[in-house]
Subunit: 297 residues, 4 copies
């Protein structure tokens, strides 16, 4: 019996790796998508870096960020960012949280991020700021409590992107592809605005231009063209390193226990596992015990 | 019977991928070439990212940007940029339109782009600005109407590069290789001018130097040396990722139907298709349905 | 009989190559770890670039930086940086010294490095400066004398990072993974602080935030997640180039004689050696004599 | 009978590709070495991008830049840069000329390049400027006439690096490896100085420090370590793309006819040619006619 969510898991895993490949996500940050048929659920990967995620790593959560099925997988500590926005915004179907180098300077200086070119207009009419210190005082800055998630969602309001002071950015989209597009092109717009500010005084899109540009970009046609490009780039990057094990050996302490179903279907990138002779040396592994086992091959 | 255009299609496809590999084009932007024997036609790829284009993706258009033969392929919405310039400038044989990161700050600030080193002199004596808002008011900024294309061509005038405010750049060349060279080295010049402006006051080439430098660079010898280099780099980049499918699976809705002739001759990069075992997982594919089909392998 | 240090050697070699792959170390710079059971010893690679190091290249030294066993391997000239800090700071279990591009501007200008985002808080409460000229006058700047090492350790004091004027940075950690994390994320923080300073006035974490953020980042869970990511990226990078010889031919003069044990167990990356047909041409080799020998294949 | 110059040719070809791989040379720029036994000769590659050069591409010239043996290979137009310096400076054994992005802003602004970190001290005590306009008025800026080469050599004087206004840099070394080291680390120093200047006021090495640092870096030990590292990186980069043809198809017009001896010994990278099935498609080739021939294979 086909898993009705298989396509969505696959697409979300690809979105994770696209955003890693395009430099938006690194060891940290995450992207989620609302359940396609049950608006009271959303999907997100297990705890870990986006670049490592495959369809098997995608979990299903309720909007208060509890796993629908019992799992031994570790969860992100900042799930309330996602749950909080899905609860507050029925029109949002995807959420991304990141700390990209191009956007962080705005979080550090408080300079407003404004649309400076047509593709950057996808940032929406306004990008508000949220400073956790205003309401919660000294914290580790990560957004882990439900009330923090709700506060951030209120700051986002009816917009599509919010900047977290001294921390990062959170974006929403009406679809996964819109959220990926907005994540990448707001980074581009941020980079261009910074470079332009270093050269002279900047001109921004007029409100009318911004709205027309955003509408033009966020069509299935344009989103599909960009997705096709990023997926092709990802595919090439992964082909170049295909001999790498699909995932590094896990740490001894069971850092990221995978959902039980993983063992059933080693599909997708798992093929590479069938070519052990081409594996890179265990030397990049994360622990010596693992290395010893590898040595038995 | 050999196709008299085969060489031109091949070279234009290579130019597409060179400009992607050198960071000038990404998901967006395009380059075209005038038909080698019929000056009332030009060639340009189907709708899509330059990095994906092969000779089979090249279409032939009239100067009012209509396909010469019926095609199911999607077309760029900004074709009038190309048609408009070919109509206005018989001496132009190639046109490129892009949004490169190095050049956009000039489009955002209005700072004049000037030749600061010998290779940058290929930008021509002057780089005018065009602001769509002046004549057309609020638009999505993309140049889609014939009158917009004509207006842009008038702004280009007798020059070789024009900057589109809050949008990008459009360049022309007497040949495809000249247009590629100008596209890459004006990006380099822009990057250097920005860096130099951040350090102190800049010195530009004298008008005499600029003219002599431009003449020196735009010879077949120098253009050939640069092309040989970029083609070698492209070749290496594509070899490193050769196991990648030549193109990602198409979206369900037939996002980019290819010209019928594609199915005849799966030459070129299509060879990789013959090694399915080396394909990266379908996980980078663009849609779930496609994934299922791939799963049948 | 298993080598009780094998795991540590392996992990330190991986740390070397992770820091190279992430742009912290290049031809110069080094990372060490205190001996896991004997606090009067530490481990560090032989003389050479971090990117080349495997477990076989790891040597064991006393805290006054003398090899425990006789070795024909060349040693770094700046070992006293490591020995000096291990002597002064029993709580330190790993030391890294580097000249990363993002951090050097602080060493050149004397601008204070401050935490501007949560992950950057791992730099600790304060990053002091050390100027070798203050105490030792004109030197080659490299830290080679025991008294220089002790002076630097005093400047580090109870902190976790110290900047060496006109030279580089030295960092410490309670574990190897903490030291790697701090090395990478202080580079990131430095880059972000520089970019933010170019745009406007910066806001830093409050002292309370900085302490909470640092504690949150430096847990085994978070350190493990980041390490898993960097190890995966390294693994992929090494897979892409696996046909490269594990190490370049040595220079004739025996530039880096390896410990004798190397010849016993050509494990790990050494597998690549078994595929001579895939070796890149000897043309990248470091000397002609080597080239001739290679020519006999 | 072994060619006494084989090792030098090999090393110079490697130096060409190292400088390309490290971003110093691109389509333009060149490096040469004085003949090891005949000080009245020097070696340099044929006309073309450094990244393409193998030992077979190295030519032998007199100090007035005439080929020692008749050749059908094209020559660089700026050979007089090399010949002029070898004539003026018997202590110089290697010369490099480049247009690297990090150094050009100094050529455009006239800001003095000064040592800001220990490895950058290899730039020597002072980096003078040369402006071709002062003596020769409007020119194409490229240094092609013997009197221009002599003028540039006079500007270099007893130093090791000279900046050419609105053009690039020329460096000299007592050996090939010293020249490569200086080329790479002056680019690094330039990048760091620019970044530091954007943040605050810079401190430079004291004259005494600069001299001691330079002496420390330019020993065979340190030069060997850096060369080992760059050669390893090159080897890995070339392994990743080994399926690429060793050189792209030549243009029809015989753009770069190779010396006759090339056909005898297709060694080195030529091995890749034996694996035609792995060649990337001809689509990256430089011309359609070539493509047709390739199709016959």
């Amino acid at each position: 019996m086909p898993d009705p969510l298989a396509e969505v898991r696959q697409e979300l895993a690809t979105a994770n790796r696209i955003l890693a490949n395009e430099g938006v996500l690194d060891a940290f940050g995450h992207i989620s998508v609302r359940h396609p048929t049950n608006p009271d659920r959303y999907l997100i990967s297990r705890y870990g870096a986006a670049e490592l995620m495959t369809a098997d790593d995608i979990l299903e959560l309720t909007l208060d960020s509890k796993p629908v099925e019992p799992t031994s997988a570790r969860l992100f500590s900042e799930l309330v960012i996602h749950g909080g926005i899905y609860q507050a915004r029925p029109d949002v179907h995807s959420v991304c949280h990141h700390h990209a180098v191009s956007v962080l300077p705005y979080c550090i200086t408080g300079v407003e991020l404004v649309p400076v070119m047509h593709l950057g207009a996808s940032l929406g009419g306004k990008v508000p700021f949220w400073d956790s210190h205003d309401e919660f005082g000294d914290t580790p800055l990560v957004v882990t409590k439900p009330e923090e998630g709700r506060s951030l969602a209120r700051a986002l309001g009816e917009h599509w992107m919010v900047l977290l002071r001294r921390h990062g950015a959170t974006l929403a989209g009406r679809s996964l592809r819109e959220c990926v597009f907005r994540s990448i092109y707001t980074c581009r717009n941020a980079e261009l605005q910074s470079r332009a500010m270093a050269m002279g005084s900047i001109s921004t899109l007029s409100p009318g231009e911004a709205e027309l540009c955003s509408s033009h970009s966020l069509t299935p046609r344009t989103l599909g063209r960009a997705w096709e490009y990023w997926a092709f780039r990802l595919q090439k990057a992964e082909a170049a390193t295909a001999r790498a094990e699909p995932r590094p050996p896990r740490a001894k302490a069971g850092l990221n226990k995978a959902p039980a179903r993983r063992n059933k279907a080693p599909a997708g990138r798992g093929k590479a596992t069938a070519r052990p002779a081409q594996r890179p040396a265990a030397s990049a592994g994360s622990g010596g015990r693992k290395v010893k086992r590898a040595g038995k091959r």
